[in-house]
């Protein structure tokens, strides 16, 4: 009797174990998304931060415009149209019949409130970084028309407005929130240290999404995220490491808008000699180096990815030519350039997968070309000192490992920062070049695109202030029941309305 009891208990336990964990699959259209990191907060003003944006953007909160992933151009969202009144002023027509999750009306006053909340300086607003130092004033013209005026020309204001998340006028203006109220198709139900849950908003103005509920969880380890999708505990993860992307049926590579590069500090000898800068580009076995980042990696010839306005498709990346690199170094040496001066290659720990290995390999190749390069790997806090002005005075000749993300559709988010004398990451100081940049920035349409292309050509062929490496790929794993593919915007948002189901 006693033994029979024990057997029963063991059988029951085994059956319970065999029943397994609760899975994401099933007939419902609820989805479970596993992110690499917990969103630190859910403040819409910080939605350019990846894990905040992937939850909020276009799900809970919506912007005035959205950027088309293919063309890079702004498309209507809460603003239905726009016109430029003068160089500094734009007039926007707003969508009618839109409600916030708390029942408040979406109108010109709500837009003015959201922009004033962003620019008021009472809370830290990461999204404002896209506007630089510009001061914006918003004037409601009527209930559904606003005029936005800047203290400087804003030829791409509609593009910039894609980072303005419109929040309910009932949102506090003087403090960051973790319970955002927007106009999106989903409203926030739960935010705990374990999970974020979004439920559909019945009063949504647009087409009702197929997804009926979204639950976000987070796991730091890539292999765990991949395993969760494989076992059905989650439906998708926006980011896994290349070594975990082993199943061609569920794992997708996508161009993620990030470009890796080395910035050359051309104020410092011997890097102030253009022959040395060209030699640095020629000395790298790019095919070999690319093996570190997977078969699908794309070589970069400029600091923005294809599809961004200003990207020049015809511009060719540097080819590997070790002999030519050695010749250029020798020629510079013959002219008295001190090529044996120590050049510090400053890498950043964890900047991207295999980033340290790439720096080791590049240092070796540059040494083979006759340059005295020494690798120093730093943590982000130290590395930032070399990235941003004011640079350390005692830095000497430096090469800086960096990665630039521009998914905002326009090279204006790249060129002035890197190449204008006042640019925060710029190592250039050329008033003539500044004028060219300003002219391109002030232009619109084709003239703007051509202006940016000309600048990228000049950087590649004449100035050579950097060593563009690769346009980076992200890897996602998508469960079998979903019909969803990542694109260039996946790093910043995962609109649930774009998710379809196979059955």
């Amino acid at each position: 009797m006693k033994r029979a009891g024990i057997y029963s208990l063991v059988s029951a336990a085994l059956m319970a174990v065999a029943a397994g964990p609760a899975l994401a699959q099933g007939g419902s259209h609820d989805v479970r998304i596993v992110l690499p990191e917990q969103p630190a907060n859910l403040e819409p003003c910080g939605s350019i931060v990846t894990n905040v944006g992937q939850v909020l953007n276009q799900n809970v909160t919506e912007p005035l415009t959205v950027i088309d992933a293919k063309t890079g151009k702004p498309e209507p969202k809460l603003a239905t149209g726009w016109e430029q009144i003068d160089a500094d002023t734009w007039r926007l027509k707003l969508r009618q019949g839109v409600k916030f999750h708390d029942g408040a009306d979406f109108n010109a006053k709500a837009v003015a409130y959201s922009i004033e909340r962003m620019t008021g300086g009472k809370l830290t607003c990461n999204n404002m970084a896209k506007f630089g130092n510009a001061k914006l004033t918003v004037k409601p013209v009527d209930d559904y028309t606003v005029e936005i005026k800047s203290d400087r020309p804003q030829p791409i204001l509609p593009t910039l407005l894609s980072v303005v998340m419109v929040v309910s006028p009932n949102t506090p203006a003087d403090k960051a929130v973790n319970d955002p109220v927007g106009t999106g198709p989903f409203k926030l139900t739960t935010f705990t240290p374990q999970t974020v849950v979004l439920d559909p908003f019945d009063g949504y103005w647009g087409k009702k999404p197929v997804v009926t509920k979204a639950t976000y969880v987070w796991r730091q380890e890539s292999s765990i995220r991949a395993a969760m999708v494989e076992t059905g505990e989650a439906d998708l993860t926006p980011s896994i490491a290349i070594q975990d992307a082993s199943n061609p049926k569920t794992d997708f590579a996508y161009l993620n808008s990030e470009t890796t590069a080395i910035r050359i500090d051309l104020a410092q000898p011997p890097l102030n000699d253009v022959r040395i800068r060209k030699a640095l580009n020629l000395a790298i076995d790019w095919d070999g180096l690319g093996q570190l980042f997977g078969d699908d990696i794309q070589r970069a010839s400029q600091m923005v990815v294809p599809g961004i306005i200003g990207h020049d498709d015809k511009l060719q990346p540097w080819k590997y030519d070790a002999a030519q690199a050695k010749k250029l170094v020798a020629a510079a040496k013959a002219d008295g350039v001190k090529v044996d001066t120590e050049i510090k290659l400053i890498g950043r720990n964890g900047i991207y997968p295999n980033g340290a290995e790439a720096m080791e390999a590049m240092m070796t190749m540059w040494r083979s070309a006759g340059l005295n390069v020494k690798l120093v790997m730093l943590d982000v806090a130290d590395w930032v000192r070399y990235l941003q002005k004011p640079y350390p005075a005692e830095r000497g000749a430096t090469l800086l490992q960096m990665m630039h993300d521009n998914n905002k559709g326009d090279a204006a988010f790249t060129i002035p920062i890197f190449y204008r004398s006042s640019g925060q990451y710029s190592v250039l100081n050329d008033p003539a070049l500044d004028k060219e940049i300003d002219a391109a920035m002030a232009a619109s349409g084709q003239a703007r695109e051509d202006g940016f292309k000309k600048l990228f050509d000049k950087m590649r062929n004449e100035v050579v202030p950097d060593i563009p490496m690769f346009h980076m790929l992200g890897y996602t794993r998508v469960g079998n029941r979903l019909n969803w593919k990542p694109d260039i915007t996946t790093n910043s948002e995962i609109p649930l309305a774009n998710i379809q189901f196979k059955n």
């Binding site: 174990v17 630190a40 009472k122 830290t124 973790n178 292999s223 969760m228 076992t231 982000v380």
Partner: protein, 304 residues
């Protein structure tokens, strides 16, 4: 006893205040948080505004004075990352770690006492040899590797347990198993060693001469006298678990205080670092008091 407790409490308060002072200044040495909180392309004006909003534009000694004044009002500051009370963040995570640590220590200590005692009862026997190999392997296996392998086997391969997360009993199995390994391995070795020493004592010979059974001799007489060193080691292991089982929390997505502390240090979320250290230091102080009291219960010669 009360006098002893009062004295320990006052020493601990002084220690905790010293620790908090040290942590306050050490965290400020890690650098400017705006480098991590703001986008890389933020303007200097935005950085200055961030520093002003968070009181970081003031001299460090003024910041410290403000911190101490707030502490007296039980205001532990606000998390720069999470935009809410730093102490609430710490207290939300701590029970998760405490539950995990309590169950892991209870199971590993109980199991280690039984296995270590049985191994010591017949030194160099088959059970002793197996116990030694298993305990040494457990004490030396890297947590991270065991956790990943366990997930691959039980969650991905056999699909009988969830990969990670929190929820029903099935979510506890792998984290507890991984967390138990090291304490179990170490404690089996300690129990075995102290039991061998006790079993060779004259009073054990007397007990055997009286005709007591082997079980009564091992568990009734030898074990009780062997427990003091076991409790010392178990207390030390429990302290490290209360500080946070960072690897287990990271791999299994367990929202405990260890991972929170490490993330806060990396993110320079100063108020949360200070609050997590205050919570864990207080817990460790209470644990040490408990261990001292246990000494007195187990050994009548110990009096406070």
């Amino acid at each position: 006893m009360l006098h002893y407790l009062g004295r320990r409490a006052s020493y601990s308060v002084i220690s905790i205040l010293g620790l908090l002072t040290l942590v306050f200044f050490l965290t400020r040495l890690t650098g400017d948080p705006s480098a991590l909180y703001l986008p890389l392309d933020s303007t200097p004006e935005a950085r200055a505004a961030f520093a002003h909003l968070n009181g970081l534009d003031q001299p460090v000694y003024i910041q410290f004075w403000n911190y101490l004044s707030d502490l007296l009002r039980l205001d532990f500051g606000e998390s720069m990352r999470q935009h809410r009370s730093a102490m609430a963040v710490a207290l939300e995570a701590f029970p998760q770690t405490l539950k995990l640590a309590f169950v892991a220590m209870l199971l590993s200590t109980g199991l280690a006492i039984v296995v270590g005692s049985l191994a010591a009862a017949r030194p160099r026997g088959l059970f002793d040899r197996i116990a030694s190999v298993v305990s040494l392997a457990g004490a030396s296996a890297p947590d991270f590797w065991v956790a990943i392998v366990a997930i691959l086997v039980f969650a991905v391969g056999m699909e009988v347990l969830p990969t990670s997360g929190t929820g029903g009993w099935e979510y506890w199995v792998m984290p507890i198993f991984v967390l138990m390994l090291r304490p179990f391995g170490l404690l089996v070795q300690v129990v075995r060693g102290t039991m061998l020493s006790s079993l060779a004592s004259p009073y054990i010979k007397t007990a055997r001469a009286k005709g007591l059974s082997r079980h009564a001799v091992v568990f009734g007489h030898a074990l009780r006298n062997s427990l003091l060193p076991v409790i010392t080691v178990a207390g030390d292991l429990a302290t490290s678990l209360i500080n946070g089982a960072v690897i287990v929390e990271s791999v299994f997505g367990w929202p405990g205080i260890g991972k929170l502390m490490i993330d806060s240090i990396i993110q320079r979320d100063f108020a949360v670092v200070q609050s997590t250290i205050l919570v864990t230091a207080t817990a460790i102080f209470l644990l040490n008091i408990l261990i001292d009291l246990l000494y007195a219960v187990l050994d009548p010669r110990v009096r406070y």
